[in-house]
Subunit: 114 residues, 2 copies
Amino acid sequence: MPIAADILEALRLELRRGTLILAVLGTLRAEQYGYSLKTRLAEAGVDIDEGALYPMLRRLESQGLLVSEWREEGKRQKRFYRLSADGAGALEQLTAEWRAMNAALNSIIEGGRT
Amino acid sequence: MPIAADILEALRLELRRGTLILAVLGTLRAEQYGYSLKTRLAEAGVDIDEGALYPMLRRLESQGLLVSEWREEGKRQKRFYRLSADGAGALEQLTAEWRAMNAALNSIIEGGRT
DNA sequence: GTACATACTGTGTGGCGCACACTGTATGTG
DNA sequence: CACATACAGTGTGCGCCACACAGTATGTAC
């Protein structure tokens, strides 16, 4: 048999974990409501579960990285989120972190090649 | 005050999480024992705690991605680890995943720029 | 008007894996 | 003999995601 699929799947999930917040923060530079956020992320190739998304939005707002507002649009009440100033700062720092980690991983992965 | 340092630190840790396994698997294409692995990773810019490293090595071995062997070197018993064939396959797939996630994140982060 | 899809926002639980603190032996060195 | 450091662990707590579940509102086909 090939590598057990569930093991690989678990590793994939683990690898995805931290990137979710980065993707959410990056997308919320433009205002979005939950559902449109999920849709946009999916289009970019990032599938996020509602059970992960909504609590994450709450968390980020309680940390002051996001601000939200109930508003009517298209005959519906929706909660709109966007980055706060602190959130923009956090996004910048996390992006820098991400690039640094990328460099480290690339040096490791390319480095060992025969 | 700037963005609370502990919040950012937590986000950084979260972001790092998944990359640890990838860094470990990548480094173990060449045989290493725990301590030298930790040292090598640190040189590449990846600090990993022993409390994370050793259990991870166990886990990866129990999943068949690594093989290990006790051996004496420099008058000391050390446990040497290296990638198994399955591990090499997993590394390849995870690397591909990583690149895909990178592309997705880049499109998100660059994309929104004014 | 009723059945169904889908837009839209949530909650609760389980489990996995990292960080942190701690333990313990062996080797080398002043 | 004291101390550093190489080396390999263990145990606990906590954070966060996946998965399953819940519930309302709008549009549409019949």
